[in-house]
């Protein structure tokens, strides 16, 4: 499934990194601890988090994640958005809680 399909089906905002909107999403990871994501997330995952700073993009890029989904209406810091544009890794947003978006995403992705 493509990032663009997540955006359309889940009504997500696209804050930045639109050039990566056709990336394939192969799973998801939910965490606000950066080392947890670094150690346990995998290529092609959508990362659901409330962290909004630039280091999120460093990790997303090093781990080749598909996109980042910010919860609770949070917006990326300007330098996070700029880095997302540079890396072509979309930062998306939902007004809902992590629990809700995770459940919906899981339903969409599970085969």
């Amino acid at each position: 499934m493509k990032v663009s399909e997540l955006v359309n089906n889940l009504g997500l905002k696209v804050y930045s990194g639109e050039s990566g909107i056709d990336k394939e999403v192969e799973g998801g990871y939910v965490s606000d601890l950066l080392s947890d994501v670094m150690g346990n997330a995998d290529t092609g995952m959508a990362w659901i988090t409330l962290q909004t700073h630039k280091n999120v993009m460093a990790i997303a890029s090093l781990k080749d994640l598909a996109c980042v989904i910010l919860v609770k209406g949070l917006e990326p810091d300007p330098d996070m958005a700029a880095q997302s544009d540079k890396e072509g890794i979309p930062v998306l947003g939902t007004s809902g809680q992590a629990f809700e978006i995770t459940g919906k995403l899981y339903e969409m992705i599970k085969k």
Binding site: L33, G39, H53, A58, S61, L62, D79
Partner: protein
Amino acid sequence: MHYEYAIEGGNFSKAGLASSEVKKKLRQLNVDNQVVKRVVVALYEAEVNIVAHAYNGTMNVEIDEEKILLVLQDSGPGIPDIEKAMEEGYSTASPEVREMGFGAGMGLSNIKKNVDHLDISSEIGKGTRVEMITYINRGR
């Protein structure tokens, strides 16, 4: 092949840049993807440790046909008890650093899990040296 990168202590806006450069080099050299993935985790954690705890440091990467040797050396406060620091969940990171989602005490165990050889030496008031080796063809 040998590469060296400087790491600035305290500058989180640049954290991960050196690791990202090394990742690109490894990809260019066609190093096995699974090896690259593991090395990147260990490198990033070691780089962030310098940013979070030290004044400045260097990342040295030496790649040959058999292995990748990574040496991160910093000028910093040093680690008083390395065994304790290796414990998962133990961290001396500041509240500001923790608020960003760092400092969960998972860094060194992430490193240990993702390299074949790890050696940490430290001198209080001087700095810390982290040496890591990953073998390219042996898998793990």
